[in-house]
Symmetry: C2
Subunit: 216 residues, 2 copies
Amino acid sequence: MNPATRPTEIVSSAHDRVYRGLRTRIMLGQIAPGEALTLRGIGKEFEVSMTPAREAVRRLVAEGALSMSSSGRVQTPELSNERIEELAALRSLIEVELASRALPRAHMALIDRLQTINGTIAEVVRDRDAVGYIRSNLEFHRTLYLRAQAPAMLAMAETVWLQLGPTMRALYGRLRRSEAPQFHRLIIAALKAGDEPGLRLAVRSDVTQGLKMLAS
Amino acid sequence: MNPATRPTEIVSSAHDRVYRGLRTRIMLGQIAPGEALTLRGIGKEFEVSMTPAREAVRRLVAEGALSMSSSGRVQTPELSNERIEELAALRSLIEVELASRALPRAHMALIDRLQTINGTIAEVVRDRDAVGYIRSNLEFHRTLYLRAQAPAMLAMAETVWLQLGPTMRALYGRLRRSEAPQFHRLIIAALKAGDEPGLRLAVRSDVTQGLKMLAS
DNA sequence: ATCCGCGTAATGTGATCACAAATCGGGGCG
DNA sequence: CGCCCCGATTTGTGATCACATTACGCGGAT
Protein backbone atom coordinates (compact mmCIF):
# COMPACT_ATOMS: atom_id res chain seq x y z
CA MET A 1 0.00 0.00 0.00
CA ASN A 2 2.50 2.57 1.12
CA PRO A 3 5.40 2.65 -1.30
CA ALA A 4 7.91 2.78 1.53
CA THR A 5 6.59 -0.35 3.18
CA ARG A 6 6.41 -2.38 0.00
CA PRO A 7 9.35 -4.74 -0.37
CA THR A 8 11.53 -4.16 -3.38
CA GLU A 9 10.41 -7.15 -5.35
CA ILE A 10 10.98 -7.62 -9.01
CA VAL A 11 7.35 -7.19 -9.79
CA SER A 12 5.64 -5.69 -12.79
CA SER A 13 4.03 -2.36 -12.19
CA ALA A 14 0.74 -2.14 -10.39
CA HIS A 15 -1.32 -0.99 -13.33
CA ASP A 16 0.04 -3.86 -15.37
CA ARG A 17 -1.03 -6.43 -12.85
CA VAL A 18 -4.47 -4.90 -12.71
CA TYR A 19 -4.63 -4.72 -16.48
CA ARG A 20 -3.67 -8.33 -17.00
CA GLY A 21 -5.96 -9.52 -14.27
CA LEU A 22 -8.97 -7.77 -15.70
CA ARG A 23 -8.01 -8.65 -19.26
CA THR A 24 -7.92 -12.40 -18.82
CA ARG A 25 -11.07 -12.27 -16.78
CA ILE A 26 -12.84 -10.43 -19.57
CA MET A 27 -11.41 -12.53 -22.35
CA LEU A 28 -12.45 -15.73 -20.63
CA GLY A 29 -15.97 -14.44 -20.17
CA GLN A 30 -15.83 -14.36 -16.40
CA ILE A 31 -17.59 -11.03 -16.34
CA ALA A 32 -21.15 -10.86 -17.55
CA PRO A 33 -22.09 -8.37 -20.28
CA GLY A 34 -23.29 -5.13 -18.75
CA GLU A 35 -21.66 -5.75 -15.40
CA ALA A 36 -20.51 -2.51 -13.78
CA LEU A 37 -17.06 -1.86 -12.36
CA THR A 38 -15.81 0.92 -10.09
CA LEU A 39 -12.31 2.24 -9.83
CA ARG A 40 -12.27 2.07 -6.07
CA GLY A 41 -13.62 -1.45 -6.15
CA ILE A 42 -10.95 -2.58 -8.58
CA GLY A 43 -8.27 -0.86 -6.56
CA LYS A 44 -9.45 -2.52 -3.39
CA GLU A 45 -9.55 -5.93 -5.03
CA PHE A 46 -6.02 -5.65 -6.38
CA GLU A 47 -4.78 -3.76 -3.33
CA VAL A 48 -3.75 -0.67 -5.22
CA SER A 49 -4.95 2.90 -5.25
CA MET A 50 -7.27 4.40 -7.80
CA THR A 51 -4.49 5.59 -10.05
CA PRO A 52 -3.31 2.23 -11.44
CA ALA A 53 -6.90 1.02 -11.53
CA ARG A 54 -7.83 3.98 -13.68
CA GLU A 55 -4.95 3.40 -16.06
CA ALA A 56 -5.80 -0.27 -16.48
CA VAL A 57 -9.44 0.56 -17.09
CA ARG A 58 -8.59 3.26 -19.60
CA ARG A 59 -6.42 0.86 -21.51
CA LEU A 60 -9.14 -1.75 -21.62
CA VAL A 61 -11.62 0.86 -22.77
CA ALA A 62 -9.23 1.85 -25.53
CA GLU A 63 -9.08 -1.79 -26.62
CA GLY A 64 -12.85 -2.08 -26.63
CA ALA A 65 -12.89 -4.58 -23.78
CA LEU A 66 -14.85 -2.21 -21.57
CA SER A 67 -17.28 0.54 -22.42
CA MET A 68 -17.51 3.85 -20.68
CA SER A 69 -20.62 5.96 -20.32
CA SER A 70 -20.50 9.71 -20.74
CA SER A 71 -20.33 10.08 -16.98
CA GLY A 72 -17.26 7.89 -16.85
CA ARG A 73 -18.99 4.84 -15.45
CA VAL A 74 -17.43 1.70 -16.73
CA GLN A 75 -18.92 -1.68 -17.59
CA THR A 76 -18.43 -4.60 -19.91
CA PRO A 77 -20.09 -3.79 -23.21
CA GLU A 78 -23.37 -5.29 -24.30
CA LEU A 79 -22.82 -5.90 -27.97
CA SER A 80 -25.49 -5.38 -30.57
CA ASN A 81 -26.03 -8.06 -33.17
CA GLU A 82 -24.55 -5.80 -35.82
CA ARG A 83 -21.38 -5.35 -33.82
CA ILE A 84 -21.11 -9.07 -33.21
CA GLU A 85 -21.37 -9.70 -36.92
CA GLU A 86 -18.65 -7.16 -37.57
CA LEU A 87 -16.33 -8.66 -35.01
CA ALA A 88 -16.93 -12.13 -36.39
CA ALA A 89 -16.07 -10.85 -39.85
CA LEU A 90 -12.90 -9.30 -38.50
CA ARG A 91 -11.95 -12.54 -36.80
CA SER A 92 -12.51 -14.33 -40.05
CA LEU A 93 -10.42 -11.92 -42.09
CA ILE A 94 -7.48 -11.74 -39.73
CA GLU A 95 -7.37 -15.32 -38.53
CA VAL A 96 -7.65 -16.82 -41.99
CA GLU A 97 -4.64 -14.75 -42.96
CA LEU A 98 -2.77 -15.77 -39.81
CA ALA A 99 -3.48 -19.44 -40.42
CA SER A 100 -2.40 -19.10 -44.00
CA ARG A 101 0.89 -17.56 -42.94
CA ALA A 102 1.40 -20.24 -40.31
CA LEU A 103 0.84 -23.09 -42.75
CA PRO A 104 4.27 -23.19 -44.40
CA ARG A 105 5.89 -23.01 -40.97
CA ALA A 106 3.78 -25.75 -39.41
CA HIS A 107 5.66 -28.90 -38.51
CA MET A 108 4.81 -32.08 -36.66
CA ALA A 109 5.51 -30.77 -33.16
CA LEU A 110 3.00 -27.97 -33.69
CA ILE A 111 0.33 -30.34 -34.93
CA ASP A 112 0.92 -32.60 -31.94
CA ARG A 113 0.50 -29.67 -29.63
CA LEU A 114 -2.73 -28.67 -31.33
CA GLN A 115 -4.08 -32.18 -30.97
CA THR A 116 -3.22 -32.19 -27.29
CA ILE A 117 -5.10 -28.93 -26.80
CA ASN A 118 -8.00 -30.41 -28.71
CA GLY A 119 -8.05 -33.28 -26.28
CA THR A 120 -8.27 -30.81 -23.42
CA ILE A 121 -11.17 -29.14 -25.16
CA ALA A 122 -13.00 -32.45 -25.35
CA GLU A 123 -12.58 -32.83 -21.60
CA VAL A 124 -13.81 -29.40 -20.58
CA VAL A 125 -16.72 -29.72 -23.00
CA ARG A 126 -17.69 -32.96 -21.30
CA ASP A 127 -17.54 -31.19 -17.94
CA ARG A 128 -19.65 -28.27 -19.14
CA ASP A 129 -16.82 -25.93 -18.14
CA ALA A 130 -17.53 -22.81 -20.16
CA VAL A 131 -14.53 -20.79 -19.00
CA GLY A 132 -12.23 -23.74 -19.55
CA TYR A 133 -13.66 -24.16 -23.01
CA ILE A 134 -13.01 -20.56 -23.96
CA ARG A 135 -9.51 -20.71 -22.54
CA SER A 136 -8.59 -23.89 -24.39
CA ASN A 137 -10.20 -22.71 -27.58
CA LEU A 138 -8.20 -19.48 -27.53
CA GLU A 139 -5.06 -21.42 -26.73
CA PHE A 140 -5.66 -23.60 -29.77
CA HIS A 141 -5.93 -20.61 -32.05
CA ARG A 142 -3.08 -18.69 -30.46
CA THR A 143 -0.76 -21.69 -30.70
CA LEU A 144 -1.43 -21.95 -34.39
CA TYR A 145 -1.15 -18.23 -35.10
CA LEU A 146 2.08 -17.81 -33.19
CA ARG A 147 3.69 -19.74 -36.01
CA ALA A 148 2.71 -17.04 -38.44
CA GLN A 149 5.40 -14.77 -36.94
CA ALA A 150 3.07 -11.83 -37.28
CA PRO A 151 2.82 -10.07 -33.91
CA ALA A 152 0.83 -7.08 -35.10
CA MET A 153 -1.82 -9.29 -36.66
CA LEU A 154 -1.96 -11.52 -33.62
CA ALA A 155 -2.41 -8.50 -31.40
CA MET A 156 -5.33 -7.38 -33.55
CA ALA A 157 -6.90 -10.80 -33.34
CA GLU A 158 -6.54 -10.84 -29.57
CA THR A 159 -8.17 -7.45 -29.35
CA VAL A 160 -11.16 -8.83 -31.19
CA TRP A 161 -11.29 -11.83 -28.86
CA LEU A 162 -11.23 -9.43 -25.97
CA GLN A 163 -14.22 -7.53 -27.28
CA LEU A 164 -16.14 -10.73 -27.79
CA GLY A 165 -15.22 -12.21 -24.40
CA PRO A 166 -18.29 -11.34 -22.32
CA THR A 167 -20.74 -12.35 -25.04
CA MET A 168 -18.75 -15.47 -25.85
CA ARG A 169 -19.49 -16.75 -22.40
CA ALA A 170 -23.18 -16.15 -22.93
CA LEU A 171 -22.98 -18.00 -26.20
CA TYR A 172 -21.21 -21.11 -25.01
CA GLY A 173 -23.42 -21.18 -21.98
CA ARG A 174 -26.52 -21.73 -24.04
CA LEU A 175 -24.74 -23.91 -26.55
CA ARG A 176 -25.65 -27.54 -25.99
CA ARG A 177 -22.69 -29.31 -27.38
CA SER A 178 -21.01 -32.38 -26.12
CA GLU A 179 -18.31 -33.12 -28.65
CA ALA A 180 -15.00 -31.49 -29.44
CA PRO A 181 -15.25 -28.91 -32.20
CA GLN A 182 -15.30 -30.56 -35.57
CA PHE A 183 -13.66 -27.65 -37.35
CA HIS A 184 -10.56 -27.97 -35.22
CA ARG A 185 -10.13 -31.44 -36.64
CA LEU A 186 -10.55 -30.02 -40.12
CA ILE A 187 -7.89 -27.41 -39.36
CA ILE A 188 -5.45 -30.07 -38.20
CA ALA A 189 -6.19 -32.22 -41.24
CA ALA A 190 -5.58 -29.31 -43.59
CA LEU A 191 -2.32 -28.51 -41.80
CA LYS A 192 -1.15 -32.07 -42.21
CA ALA A 193 -2.06 -32.09 -45.89
CA GLY A 194 -0.57 -28.67 -46.55
CA ASP A 195 -3.94 -27.77 -48.05
CA GLU A 196 -4.17 -24.00 -47.92
CA PRO A 197 -7.67 -23.52 -49.39
CA GLY A 198 -8.95 -26.19 -47.04
CA LEU A 199 -7.26 -24.51 -44.09
CA ARG A 200 -8.73 -21.14 -44.92
CA LEU A 201 -12.18 -22.62 -45.19
CA ALA A 202 -11.83 -24.57 -41.95
CA VAL A 203 -10.66 -21.55 -39.99
CA ARG A 204 -13.39 -19.37 -41.42
CA SER A 205 -15.99 -21.99 -40.54
CA ASP A 206 -14.66 -22.43 -37.02
CA VAL A 207 -14.66 -18.71 -36.38
CA THR A 208 -18.06 -18.03 -37.87
CA GLN A 209 -19.88 -21.11 -36.67
CA GLY A 210 -20.51 -20.24 -33.06
CA LEU A 211 -21.09 -16.56 -33.47
CA LYS A 212 -23.77 -16.97 -36.06
CA MET A 213 -26.30 -18.41 -33.70
CA LEU A 214 -25.78 -15.52 -31.32
CA ALA A 215 -27.39 -13.22 -33.85
CA SER A 216 -30.65 -15.12 -33.59
CA MET B 1 -11.37 3.47 -29.43
CA ASN B 2 -12.33 5.88 -32.13
CA PRO B 3 -14.42 9.00 -32.09
CA ALA B 4 -17.19 7.45 -34.14
CA THR B 5 -18.01 4.87 -31.50
CA ARG B 6 -17.65 7.17 -28.56
CA PRO B 7 -20.93 8.32 -27.09
CA THR B 8 -21.85 11.95 -27.34
CA GLU B 9 -19.49 13.85 -25.15
CA ILE B 10 -20.63 17.31 -24.22
CA VAL B 11 -17.48 18.70 -22.71
CA SER B 12 -14.19 17.15 -23.57
CA SER B 13 -12.28 16.18 -20.49
CA ALA B 14 -8.68 17.12 -20.13
CA HIS B 15 -7.24 13.74 -20.95
CA ASP B 16 -9.48 13.55 -24.00
CA ARG B 17 -8.21 16.85 -25.35
CA VAL B 18 -4.66 15.69 -24.84
CA TYR B 19 -5.46 12.32 -26.42
CA ARG B 20 -7.04 13.81 -29.50
CA GLY B 21 -4.32 16.39 -29.88
CA LEU B 22 -1.56 13.83 -29.78
CA ARG B 23 -3.54 11.37 -31.87
CA THR B 24 -4.08 13.59 -34.86
CA ARG B 25 -0.53 14.79 -34.64
CA ILE B 26 0.72 11.21 -34.76
CA MET B 27 -1.68 10.09 -37.45
CA LEU B 28 -0.72 12.98 -39.68
CA GLY B 29 2.93 12.19 -39.25
CA GLN B 30 3.80 15.42 -37.50
CA ILE B 31 6.01 13.55 -35.05
CA ALA B 32 9.15 11.90 -36.35
CA PRO B 33 9.70 8.19 -35.68
CA GLY B 34 11.72 7.72 -32.53
CA GLU B 35 10.94 11.15 -31.14
CA ALA B 36 10.76 11.13 -27.35
CA LEU B 37 7.95 12.58 -25.27
CA THR B 38 7.74 13.33 -21.57
CA LEU B 39 4.65 13.45 -19.42
CA ARG B 40 5.55 16.76 -17.87
CA GLY B 41 6.29 18.20 -21.27
CA ILE B 42 2.95 17.09 -22.65
CA GLY B 43 1.15 18.38 -19.59
CA LYS B 44 2.85 21.73 -19.91
CA GLU B 45 2.03 21.98 -23.58
CA PHE B 46 -1.67 21.23 -23.06
CA GLU B 47 -1.77 23.12 -19.76
CA VAL B 48 -2.81 20.15 -17.67
CA SER B 49 -1.15 18.19 -14.92
CA MET B 50 0.65 14.90 -15.38
CA THR B 51 -2.41 12.80 -14.66
CA PRO B 52 -4.39 13.46 -17.85
CA ALA B 53 -1.18 13.42 -19.85
CA ARG B 54 -0.38 9.97 -18.52
CA GLU B 55 -3.83 8.66 -19.36
CA ALA B 56 -3.67 9.97 -22.89
CA VAL B 57 -0.22 8.49 -23.38
CA ARG B 58 -1.28 5.13 -21.96
CA ARG B 59 -4.21 5.02 -24.32
CA LEU B 60 -2.04 5.78 -27.30
CA VAL B 61 0.44 3.13 -26.21
CA ALA B 62 -2.42 0.64 -25.99
CA GLU B 63 -3.37 1.51 -29.54
CA GLY B 64 0.17 1.08 -30.77
CA ALA B 65 0.56 4.73 -31.64
CA LEU B 66 3.37 5.17 -29.13
CA SER B 67 5.89 2.73 -27.79
CA MET B 68 7.08 2.56 -24.24
CA SER B 69 10.44 1.34 -23.06
CA SER B 70 10.78 -0.84 -19.99
CA SER B 71 11.66 2.21 -17.96
CA GLY B 72 8.44 3.90 -18.98
CA ARG B 73 10.00 6.31 -21.42
CA VAL B 74 7.70 7.01 -24.29
CA GLN B 75 8.37 7.70 -27.94
CA THR B 76 6.86 7.22 -31.35
CA PRO B 77 7.71 3.74 -32.57
CA GLU B 78 10.34 3.00 -35.18
CA LEU B 79 8.77 0.24 -37.21
CA SER B 80 10.73 -2.65 -38.62
CA ASN B 81 10.15 -3.65 -42.21
CA GLU B 82 8.39 -6.82 -41.10
CA ARG B 83 5.97 -4.85 -39.01
CA ILE B 84 5.28 -2.43 -41.82
CA GLU B 85 4.49 -5.34 -44.10
CA GLU B 86 2.11 -6.74 -41.52
CA LEU B 87 0.33 -3.46 -41.05
CA ALA B 88 0.03 -3.02 -44.79
CA ALA B 89 -1.49 -6.49 -45.04
CA LEU B 90 -3.94 -5.59 -42.28
CA ARG B 91 -4.89 -2.38 -44.04
CA SER B 92 -5.48 -4.37 -47.19
CA LEU B 93 -7.62 -7.00 -45.49
CA ILE B 94 -9.79 -4.62 -43.52
CA GLU B 95 -10.13 -1.80 -46.00
CA VAL B 96 -10.99 -4.06 -48.92
CA GLU B 97 -13.80 -5.45 -46.80
CA LEU B 98 -14.94 -1.97 -45.79
CA ALA B 99 -14.97 -0.79 -49.38
CA SER B 100 -16.88 -3.86 -50.41
CA ARG B 101 -19.51 -3.20 -47.77
CA ALA B 102 -19.73 0.45 -48.74
CA LEU B 103 -20.27 -0.31 -52.42
CA PRO B 104 -23.99 -1.16 -52.35
CA ARG B 105 -24.62 1.93 -50.23
CA ALA B 106 -22.62 4.32 -52.40
CA HIS B 107 -24.67 6.92 -54.19
CA MET B 108 -23.87 9.97 -56.29
CA ALA B 109 -23.42 12.40 -53.43
CA LEU B 110 -20.74 10.19 -51.95
CA ILE B 111 -18.88 9.89 -55.23
CA ASP B 112 -19.02 13.65 -55.67
CA ARG B 113 -17.57 14.10 -52.23
CA LEU B 114 -14.78 11.67 -52.98
CA GLN B 115 -13.96 13.52 -56.18
CA THR B 116 -13.81 16.80 -54.30
CA ILE B 117 -11.38 15.33 -51.80
CA ASN B 118 -9.35 13.99 -54.68
CA GLY B 119 -9.12 17.50 -56.05
CA THR B 120 -7.78 18.67 -52.73
CA ILE B 121 -5.20 15.92 -52.83
CA ALA B 122 -4.03 17.12 -56.22
CA GLU B 123 -3.53 20.59 -54.75
CA VAL B 124 -1.55 19.57 -51.70
CA VAL B 125 0.55 17.23 -53.80
CA ARG B 126 1.41 20.14 -56.07
CA ASP B 127 2.42 22.17 -53.00
CA ARG B 128 4.58 19.37 -51.61
CA ASP B 129 2.51 19.47 -48.42
CA ALA B 130 3.15 16.08 -46.83
CA VAL B 131 0.89 16.55 -43.81
CA GLY B 132 -1.89 17.90 -45.99
CA TYR B 133 -1.49 14.91 -48.25
CA ILE B 134 -1.81 12.41 -45.43
CA ARG B 135 -4.80 14.24 -44.02
CA SER B 136 -6.63 14.36 -47.33
CA ASN B 137 -5.76 10.80 -48.15
CA LEU B 138 -7.14 9.54 -44.85
CA GLU B 139 -10.23 11.67 -45.34
CA PHE B 140 -10.79 10.05 -48.71
CA HIS B 141 -10.66 6.58 -47.24
CA ARG B 142 -12.67 7.43 -44.16
CA THR B 143 -15.39 9.06 -46.22
CA LEU B 144 -15.76 5.91 -48.27
CA TYR B 145 -15.64 3.53 -45.34
CA LEU B 146 -18.16 5.45 -43.28
CA ARG B 147 -20.73 4.24 -45.79
CA ALA B 148 -20.00 0.67 -44.81
CA GLN B 149 -21.83 1.23 -41.51
CA ALA B 150 -19.24 -0.88 -39.74
CA PRO B 151 -17.86 1.11 -36.80
CA ALA B 152 -15.82 -1.72 -35.29
CA MET B 153 -14.03 -2.34 -38.58
CA LEU B 154 -13.47 1.34 -39.16
CA ALA B 155 -11.99 1.65 -35.68
CA MET B 156 -9.58 -1.17 -36.46
CA ALA B 157 -8.56 0.47 -39.70
CA GLU B 158 -7.94 3.78 -37.95
CA THR B 159 -5.80 2.05 -35.36
CA VAL B 160 -3.63 0.70 -38.15
CA TRP B 161 -3.38 4.15 -39.71
CA LEU B 162 -2.30 5.47 -36.34
CA GLN B 163 0.49 2.95 -36.07
CA LEU B 164 1.71 3.80 -39.55
CA GLY B 165 1.48 7.56 -39.04
CA PRO B 166 5.05 8.45 -38.18
CA THR B 167 6.55 6.24 -40.86
CA MET B 168 3.95 7.38 -43.38
CA ARG B 169 5.37 10.85 -43.14
CA ALA B 170 8.84 9.55 -43.81
CA LEU B 171 7.51 7.69 -46.82
CA TYR B 172 5.67 10.53 -48.49
CA GLY B 173 8.53 12.83 -47.75
CA ARG B 174 10.89 10.87 -49.94
CA LEU B 175 8.18 10.11 -52.48
CA ARG B 176 8.63 12.30 -55.51
CA ARG B 177 5.15 12.40 -56.90
CA SER B 178 3.39 15.25 -58.55
CA GLU B 179 0.06 13.85 -59.63
CA ALA B 180 -3.04 12.84 -57.72
CA PRO B 181 -3.12 9.14 -56.85
CA GLN B 182 -4.20 7.07 -59.78
CA PHE B 183 -5.76 4.35 -57.65
CA HIS B 184 -8.21 6.82 -56.18
CA ARG B 185 -9.54 7.38 -59.66
CA LEU B 186 -9.83 3.63 -60.12
CA ILE B 187 -11.75 3.40 -56.86
CA ILE B 188 -14.18 6.08 -57.98
CA ALA B 189 -14.61 4.44 -61.38
CA ALA B 190 -15.35 1.08 -59.79
CA LEU B 191 -17.86 2.71 -57.45
CA LYS B 192 -19.65 4.31 -60.39
CA ALA B 193 -19.76 1.03 -62.29
CA GLY B 194 -20.78 -1.02 -59.27
CA ASP B 195 -17.82 -3.24 -60.04
CA GLU B 196 -16.98 -5.05 -56.82
CA PRO B 197 -13.95 -7.06 -57.98
CA GLY B 198 -12.53 -3.92 -59.55
CA LEU B 199 -13.13 -1.98 -56.35
CA ARG B 200 -11.42 -4.59 -54.21
CA LEU B 201 -8.41 -4.62 -56.49
CA ALA B 202 -8.22 -0.83 -56.62
CA VAL B 203 -8.36 -0.46 -52.84
CA ARG B 204 -5.78 -3.18 -52.33
CA SER B 205 -3.49 -1.54 -54.85
CA ASP B 206 -3.91 1.90 -53.32
CA VAL B 207 -3.16 0.63 -49.82
CA THR B 208 -0.20 -1.52 -50.80
CA GLN B 209 1.37 0.74 -53.36
CA GLY B 210 3.03 3.31 -51.17
CA LEU B 211 4.07 1.04 -48.35
CA LYS B 212 5.88 -1.39 -50.58
CA MET B 213 8.68 0.98 -51.39
CA LEU B 214 9.23 1.67 -47.72
CA ALA B 215 10.44 -1.89 -47.30
CA SER B 216 13.32 -1.28 -49.69
C1' DA C 1 -49.83 1.75 -4.85
C1' DT C 2 -47.07 4.59 -7.96
C1' DC C 3 -44.45 8.37 -9.16
C1' DC C 4 -41.74 12.38 -8.29
C1' DG C 5 -38.05 15.16 -5.54
C1' DC C 6 -34.54 15.72 -2.77
C1' DG C 7 -30.66 14.72 0.07
C1' DT C 8 -26.95 11.62 0.91
C1' DA C 9 -23.61 8.46 -0.57
C1' DA C 10 -20.67 6.97 -4.15
C1' DT C 11 -17.94 7.75 -8.20
C1' DG C 12 -14.79 9.80 -11.70
C1' DT C 13 -11.51 13.60 -12.53
C1' DG C 14 -7.53 16.10 -12.03
C1' DA C 15 -3.78 18.26 -9.09
C1' DT C 16 -0.06 17.58 -6.06
C1' DC C 17 3.39 15.15 -3.61
C1' DA C 18 6.92 11.65 -2.27
C1' DC C 19 9.83 8.32 -4.01
C1' DA C 20 12.65 5.28 -6.90
C1' DA C 21 14.84 4.56 -11.06
C1' DA C 22 16.97 6.07 -15.06
C1' DT C 23 19.48 9.39 -17.66
C1' DC C 24 22.93 12.68 -18.49
C1' DG C 25 26.61 15.47 -17.15
C1' DG C 26 31.23 16.46 -15.61
C1' DG C 27 35.38 15.23 -13.24
C1' DG C 28 38.94 12.09 -12.19
C1' DC C 29 41.78 8.18 -13.37
C1' DG C 30 44.27 5.25 -16.53
C1' DC D 1 43.27 11.79 -24.94
C1' DG D 2 39.74 8.51 -23.85
C1' DC D 3 36.96 5.89 -20.57
C1' DC D 4 34.58 5.14 -16.41
C1' DC D 5 32.34 6.37 -12.29
C1' DC D 6 29.52 9.05 -9.49
C1' DG D 7 26.31 12.73 -8.38
C1' DA D 8 22.55 15.87 -9.76
C1' DT D 9 18.64 16.27 -12.46
C1' DT D 10 14.99 14.50 -14.97
C1' DT D 11 11.28 11.30 -15.38
C1' DG D 12 7.69 7.80 -14.47
C1' DT D 13 4.87 5.70 -10.76
C1' DG D 14 1.59 5.46 -7.35
C1' DA D 15 -0.93 7.44 -3.27
C1' DT D 16 -3.82 10.90 -1.51
C1' DC D 17 -6.92 14.63 -1.57
C1' DA D 18 -10.52 18.09 -2.94
C1' DC D 19 -14.23 18.80 -5.89
C1' DA D 20 -18.01 18.34 -9.25
C1' DT D 21 -21.21 15.22 -10.89
C1' DT D 22 -23.95 11.34 -10.91
C1' DA D 23 -26.58 7.56 -9.12
C1' DC D 24 -29.51 5.80 -5.58
C1' DG D 25 -32.83 5.33 -1.98
C1' DC D 26 -36.12 7.17 1.06
C1' DG D 27 -40.01 9.78 2.01
C1' DG D 28 -44.13 12.17 0.80
C1' DA D 29 -47.78 13.59 -2.33
C1' DT D 30 -51.31 12.31 -5.54
